[in-house]
């Protein structure tokens, strides 16, 4: 008993020590109640140097919390209990959050640098007139190939993935809408199809792709592709940029039939309490110099045209990540579908994943 008691005391002492250390660390990071900005962001999705710069310039402290899926972030905000001032959902989630009345409209009079954004990226269907959101990064869905095994001419179209040549060679991103989506596009249908029969056909077509599929994975896909584990993958452009940075044999193609066009966007949830800090931060991030620095760090495509002009010519002219306007026009933005249809997409995708030969 004495031994147990002394152990409890020892543990409590260590806990107290850690608590002091933690409080100290918080103080050095400048966090106090009032001047903070609670920012819910994807992991590693902003240049930390920019946060430091912002804190230095404005005196606000950025409290960053990370999430790893739109839905999980949505659930947390919807349930309440969080106090996020700013977050970065993808476009369909912005639409869903607008419908659920979870967002505060942007006060345009407090925003600067709006003219820096390219017209292609503004006023999209998920938020007409950008009442609630500002684009942060954007991109497409496409095919990544390794030039040691695959020629570019062999993957110009989605249909090319079904070529018997690629048996067990393709990695797919674990996302129901994207995978069923490219199957739909290859059939000449919309990525926002809600017709169950059409979706069933798209799934049957995917089953035929099954022998070519090596794995259906998520973030790991970058590591796998960079290591040359598979010659082909279907993934988002931002992810492709990361892989290509690690392996120069990799290239990215948006098939000519078109693809998905995605946007991650700044929005202010209803839980926001530090609106002044939010607008200071948005204006800071809209500044072309800062946006360019961020795009350089994150490696995704920036919707800030003024920032793009500050990036190296090589980046500006890179058709993989800044494709021609007509490719963008041919691509579709996801709509927020009814829960039933989302359910159908996911059930079909689950069935596809379980399908073996």
């Amino acid at each position: 008993m004495k031994k147990l008691m002394s152990m409890i005391v020892a543990i409590l002492a260590v806990v107290a020590g850690l608590a002091l250390w933690s409080a100290n660390l918080k103080k050095t990071q400048g966090a106090t109640g009032e001047n903070t900005l609670n920012f819910a962001n994807w992991g590693d999705y902003i240049d930390p140097a920019l946060i430091k710069k912002f804190e230095k310039q404005t005196g606000y402290h950025v409290n960053q919390e990370t999430f790893d899926s739109n839905e999980a972030m949505y659930t947390k905000i919807q349930q309440g209990g969080t106090s996020y001032d700013l977050t970065v959902p993808s476009e369909y989630m912005v639409e869903k959050m607008i419908k659920a009345k979870m967002l505060i409209p942007l006060d345009k009079s407090k925003l600067t640098g709006l003219k820096n954004f390219g017209s292609l990226y503004m006023n999209r269907s998920f938020d007409p007139g950008n009442k609630y959101s500002l684009p942060y990064f954007w991109g497409t869905l496409g095919i990544i190939y390794n030039d040691q095994y695959v020629k570019r001419s062999e993957v110009e179209h989605w249909e090319d993935l079904w070529n018997k040549k690629w048996r067990g060679d393709i990695m797919l991103i674990d996302s129901a809408r994207d995978i069923l989506g490219f199957s739909l596009v290859s059939m000449g249908k919309s990525m926002n199809t809600t017709n169950p029969t059409t979706l069933q056909l798209a799934k049957t077509k995917l089953d035929a792709l099954s022998p070519n599929v090596k794995a259906v994975v998520a973030d790991e896909i970058k590591m796998y592709m960079a290591e040359g584990e598979a010659p082909l993958a279907v993934d988002w452009s931002g992810e492709a940029a990361d892989m290509m940075w690690d392996n120069s044999h990799l290239h990215y193609v948006v098939p000519t039939e078109g693809s998905n066009l995605w946007f991650d966007n700044f929005v202010i949830p209803k839980t926001a309490k530090h609106l002044k800090a939010v607008y200071a931060f948005l204006n800071f991030m809209n500044d072309p110099k800062n946006a360019a620095q961020n795009a350089d760090y994150v490696g995704y495509s920036t919707p800030n045209d003024a920032a793009l002009r500050r990036l190296p010519k090589k980046v500006q002219n890179d058709k993989q990540f800044y494709p021609d306007q007509d490719v963008i026009r041919r691509s579709e933005v996801y709509k927020d579908l009814a829960p039933k249809t989302v359910g159908l997409y996911n059930d079909l995708f689950l069935e596809f994943k379980m399908f073996r030969k």
């Binding site: 994975v217 790991e220 796998y224 584990e229 359910g343 996911n346 689950l350």
Partner: protein
């Protein structure tokens, strides 16, 4: 009388925990399993579960994989626990077996990806003998191996405790009575350590039914378990009703397994 009051006092914090963090969430899950994705009351989730071949197939898959994982883990863990019992510094070794579990699962999975990949450690090793690179990742083999790896410490610990409880006297008596090593093991040691084995099986089998991370990272989603489906329903489809339904099925499965591997009534009084 005195005994029962202290007993009640012990039950207060624990009972409070049971009520708040076990009973309440379980009721919540059961309640939710009766609602469809648009929030209407329905029995449809259960109908879907039992009627669509997908979920039944998934359940069978999960059970088969969990069974194999448990068997492999047990085969590796029992001898380890047994030998540990007779080793010098056994408590230290035991601590060292738990230590790897302190490293984040995701990191260990990434390490395995590195080890099993086309130009990873294993293929490099095989290459030294002139064997061409083989596909290890996304195979049943690698999935079962990594899953077993994760579960081994959770199996060794209860078995080790079971063996520690074993009275060395019985073993010696059996030897003195002329039993061969193997006979002593099957007739004396194994039955007497069965409780530890059962605890280990419970600790490994049931969580294996709902593995989800490894099925994607190492199995490449070629292996789909109930855990994957729950994960998707809660985090992607946001169909909490269906997710809860599978959760209810898992809880029932757990009660079944507890019942099957649980303690039978002891003969005669208290042990």
């Amino acid at each position: 009388m005195k005994k029962s009051t202290t007993n009640a006092a012990f039950y207060v914090p624990y009972g409070l925990w049971l009520a708040l963090f076990v009973v309440a969430p379980v009721l919540l899950i059961i309640y939710q399993s009766f609602f469809d994705i648009s929030g209407h009351f329905t029995l449809g989730n259960y109908a879907t579960y039992f009627q669509s071949g997908t979920y039944i197939l998934m359940t069978i898959n999960s059970v088969v994989y969990a069974f194999i994982i448990t068997a492999v883990t047990l085969l590796i863990s029992y001898p380890t626990a047994y030998l540990l019992h007779y080793a010098k510094h056994k408590q230290l070794w035991l601590l060292l077996i738990i230590l790897p579990t302190w490293i984040n699962l995701l990191l260990k999975a990434y390490a395995f990806i590195g080890i099993f990949s086309q130009d990873g450690g294993v293929n490099g090793f095989l290459g030294m003998f002139g064997i061409a690179p083989k596909q290890f990742l996304f195979t049943d083999f690698s999935f079962i191996l990594v899953a077993s790896y994760i579960e081994i410490p959770f199996m060794i610990l209860p078995i080790f405790n079971g063996i520690e409880e074993l009275d060395q006297g019985y073993v010696n008596a059996s030897r003195d009575l002329g039993a061969k090593g193997w006979q002593t093991f099957t007739r004396v040691i194994l039955p007497l350590t069965m409780n530890g084995v059962k605890a280990g099986v419970q600790a490994v089998f049931i969580p294996s039914l709902s593995l989800f991370m490894l099925t994607r990272l190492i199995g490449g989603n070629r292996v789909i378990t109930l855990g994957t489906a729950i994960e998707e329903h809660f985090l992607v489809t946001m169909n909490w009703g269906m997710g809860s339904t599978i959760g209810v099925v898992l809880i029932i499965a757990m009660f079944l397994i507890m019942f099957l591997t649980g303690e039978r009534k002891r003969k005669g009084g208290r042990a």
